[in-house]
Symmetry: C2
Subunit: 341 residues, 2 copies
């Protein structure tokens, strides 16, 4: 099991990527090698700083002279910066030298590079990002979280198949439950797009072929409260929802911190109950999930949050490892073949 890590990706590169690689090597013995892809000097310096031996057979530095910035237009820049860390790392997966790609860098660039270099699985028209949210009953994946902003109903049908394959094989959910994000739970709610998608999903579920239960339209609260494995939406909605949920959690922690430090008495109370805040922060944070699989490409591609910490990068590597080990892509291929028949 070998991982190609974009060492230059994210807001805190290369530090968090080197830190995440170090933790992953310590924690996951099944990882044979991590390719650290990016500016060689910067990577060497950071490895030395963090005490990660570059002579270890489990580490390989692969130089990539270019970096794609977080704010650059992804798809365009991928074509221009051929020697960027994202492209060079993706090439390692394409060549079969690495089993999984992990990046906390520019999402649009990673999606474009993966689609161009690895191509799509047969039967898939658009790849989708499955972002895990901390649901009371497990992890609920919002799919698509941003790869395909103007999705078509048939894209969401394939997302339902792919997302439920991920839930079944990686998370061990026997009968994945799939909902459709809408502006109300009643069947007739939604836009032309969601109504067409609803009809398509319902028809497929009624045919008996669906490898999932379609629960119908869902709303924001279902992401956290209802036993659901996949919530489908177009990539624009998914991206906006995901960022809005993150922003709400962040704002609440900020206000809580302000109020808890507003006077000496509250500060004492906060200190005594500190464990509770740490636990909630951990649960709410993206760190624990760490990486979102880009489903639909011919290879394992994990997108980590731009603001990832070392723990988040380590967890993204873990998600990559699990996606490879549980053979998610072969299962997706087989299911798509089955459905066609």
């Amino acid at each position: 099991m070998k991982v190609a890590l974009d060492a230059m990706g994210g807001d805190h590169a290369p530090a968090v990527n080197i830190g995440g690689a170090k933790e992953a090597l310590e924690l996951y013995p099944s990882i044979e090698k991590i390719f650290l892809v990016g500016d060689e000097d910067a990577i060497r310096a950071e490895c030395q700083k963090q005490g990660l031996s570059t002579t270890s057979p489990r580490i390989a530095i692969v130089h990539a002279p270019e970096v794609i910035g977080m704010a650059e237009p992804g798809a365009k820049t991928v074509r221009r910066k051929k020697q960027s860390s994202i492209n060079v790392a993706m090439d390692l997966v394409k060549a079969g030298e690495a089993d999984a790609f992990v990046s906390a860098g520019n999402t649009g660039a990673a999606v474009a590079s993966a689609t161009i270099k690895l191509r799509l699985i047969e039967g898939v028209d658009r790849a989708g990002i499955a972002s895990g949210l901390p649901n009371e009953h497990g992890i609920c994946h919002l799919l698509d979280a941003g790869a395909n902003p103007e999705a078509k109903p048939e894209h969401l049908l394939v997302y339902a198949i792919m997302g439920s394959a991920f839930a079944r094989h990686v998370l061990g959910v026997k009968h994945p439950k799939v909902g459709l994000m809408s502006n109300g739970e009643e069947d007739e709610k939604g836009t032309t797009f969601t109504k067409e998608t609803f009809a398509l999903l319902k028809g497929f579920a009624d045919s008996g072929k669906a490898p999932f239960d379609f629960v119908g339209n869902v709303e924001g609260h279902d992401l956290f409260e209802t036993q659901l494995d996949v919530v489908l939406c177009d990539g624009f909605t998914g991206n906006v929802v995901l960022k809005s949920c993150e922003a709400t959690a962040k704002a609440m922690f900020k206000w809580l911190k302000k109020e808890l430090t507003a006077n000496a008495v509250r500060m004492i109370g906060a200190k005594i109950a500190k464990g509770a805040f740490v636990a909630v922060k951990e649960r709410a944070s993206a760190e624990s999930y760490g990486g979102s699989p880009l489903l639909g490409v011919n290879g394992v591609v994990i997108i980590a949050h731009g603001g990832s910490t070392a723990v988040a990068v380590r967890n993204a590597i873990r998600v990559g490892m699990e996606t490879v080990q549980h053979r998610v892509n072969p299962h997706i291929e087989a299911t798509l073949q089955d459905v066609k028949r």
Copy 2:
């Protein structure tokens, strides 16, 4: 200043509506009268229970034999249940007997009833709901929060004009700042719809005619952190975002409560710091804002959350009062006339 209150609207009707009316009458002397619209027997019984004298000249019970349920299809049911509390209350505004309509009931029904009975302001093609969010710099209104799921770019241009009129005249913001919700802050981000809307807003702002500053594309975190008065989006996106933010806040309080009561030590700390949780809950809750104006109809219509408490209903009545007193609709009409020239 007279208010027509849908006494039967919301998940906790009529109790919270009667409670909200009672509080509003106590707190706001400029309210001459509140019409309590709905089932007369139920309203009388609840008034007696809560000690609200129905013989007061500031109270008038208006019987409406029908109720539109929260899950009924709004637009259709409004046409069928002509004697529903929403329709009867709206008729009072239409007839000029009341200055504002307030309901915590079925949003789709209230929007449809308002549009049919009050009609739209000249120059407005679709009404939009402006929902206030607790931004660090004041209140940021998400517009549209659900009235118009499949909006066109020109609808959002009119929303920008209406939302900034509300911010200027009700909230006292001299130079309202307007952003466009997108899947990234860079100008080129978005869907076909948001890109067309962006171009329209930018062209209008560049013409020097705009009564607001257009700040460009914004994301989830801007709702809470950036000095913004209006964030524009189609009603599907707005509805989904609003519900997802509410759900995140709710989930976090739930987790916090669970963790704070997980052991005796934490419970002691939580008790000492209790004031902080109350303050954050109040800030995060929809109660403080209480009501979202439906902008664009010929009359003042305030939509309250279905889960409203009495405090939320009281605040929705206050928003209605302020919208009337600050002459928001005449200002919107005048601005739309100005822009045309």
